[in-house]
Amino acid sequence: MTALTTELRASYGFVERNINIVKRYWAWEVVWLFYSVTNSLAVAYIGPGVGALSTASVDSHFLVLYLIIGTIVWRYLSVIFYWLTDVIGMERWEGTIEYTLMAPITRLTHLAGHTAFAVVYSLSHTAVILGVTAFFFDLDLSKANLIGGTVILLVGSISFIGVGIVGAILPLLFPEKGQQMTHVIISLLLLVSGVYYPVSVLPPALQFFATYSPATYVLEGSRVALLDGAPTLALGQYVLPLLVMGAILVPIGLWLFRAAEQYAKRTGKLKRNG
């Protein structure tokens, strides 16, 4: 048996384990999906709401689509983020963290399996939300470049995986409250990335942070592709920064994770259940 086969089997072990967890917690999954769908619908109804409240003429159809893209893309990215930051948190909760971390596998194998599951889970979760939202609104996607939008979403996943891995070190460093600290990262990204409004309405200081948020490029790129129907080849200005951020954030995340693991082993922070 080659080392690669061993690592692949171990990586698949995380996928299989997470599928089993989702199946066993199916009631929670239904609740979570219901919450996500109603949340997205509530955001989308701001579009017609603004039209009804405003005295000026508002293109509420455009606004609805703008908000739906925001909520769907954000849902997709944040679900990946939360699955990744939960890589330690869920094992602390169950008490299995020591068992997993003493297995003879690389951290890359560990995180690759967990990430593969997170991406597929998030895609499925988002597809259901999109399907239900489309049922409530008469979405005109005749101009939309769906392939371009998908490309942006997938490329954006890479950099968000990096952000998720960086966030995952918090539960390693802070056993009691590390998981809750990850909310700070995601809420900051929500504020500055233009999920429900253009980044241009933000104060200059926050716009500066928006430049360094991968979500900014995923959202802008998706909107240009889906609202304006920009051709895929014209999306380079969004794809390139996302690829660069992914190429930087993923290795940095892995390095930081490994360093945090060593710190936890030096200070004895693995054993606490928090």
Partner: protein, 270 residues
Amino acid sequence: MSTYPIALEIQNVSKSFNQSTWNPFKRNGATKPVVAVNDISIQVPRGEIFGVLGPNGSGKSTFIRLISTLLVPDTGHVTIFGHDILREERAVQRLINRVSVEAAFFKKLSPLENLMYGARLYGLSGAEARARIEAILKRLDLRADALNRPMEEMSRGMQQKVAIARAFLTAPILLLLDEPTTGLDPRSKREVQSLVRELRDTHAATIVLTTHDMGEADALCDRIAIIDDGRIVALDTPAGLKRLVKANGRAPTLEDVFMQLTGKQLVTEE
């Protein structure tokens, strides 16, 4: 399989923990580090069942965690079959497995799902893992109908059996057992003890066992170290340890040895 004659070598290993965390609203400052393991050195030859006895908080679990690659020693070296636990972590992890006192599982998952996860982490294929799981669980007398029920619905003893099965599944040549029979009924205890002997005899495995059960230590272990305050206060065969103490005219037991060698602690606590 490694033919290295020394399964475990620990040289001058110490481990301390800082108890305080910084808090801007408190003036407690740094507290004195707690020494969990204090300058321990031992050699365990291949094929030995090595027992570690000690009062609660004496450093037994820290000792096991250091060997398990879950803690980094402050000083000293640990090698397993010649592999340094820090420099060759992956090679060491392939040779060992551990059963801890608390049966740590994904509670909603079934024994089969938990064991499959454990087997995959060690590179076993699905078919290979399933065959081994069935054989081990049968050997441990775990009912077949329990295999697909969530772990949280099982008794502590049953959960501990699954934990033991998980460790045996990967056929480790150094098995670390941290109070593995705590919470098991007498029959289950005997089954586990017989399995431990079998693992040593048929797979040439080396076993490091911590326990509070003196009878178990006496029956299973070739040599026993008694730890107190993170230090080894005695190390010998069970018979050799018994020769160290007197028991008012009768033959001393391991419990007598334990009480006399760690008696200071009992007096302090009283």
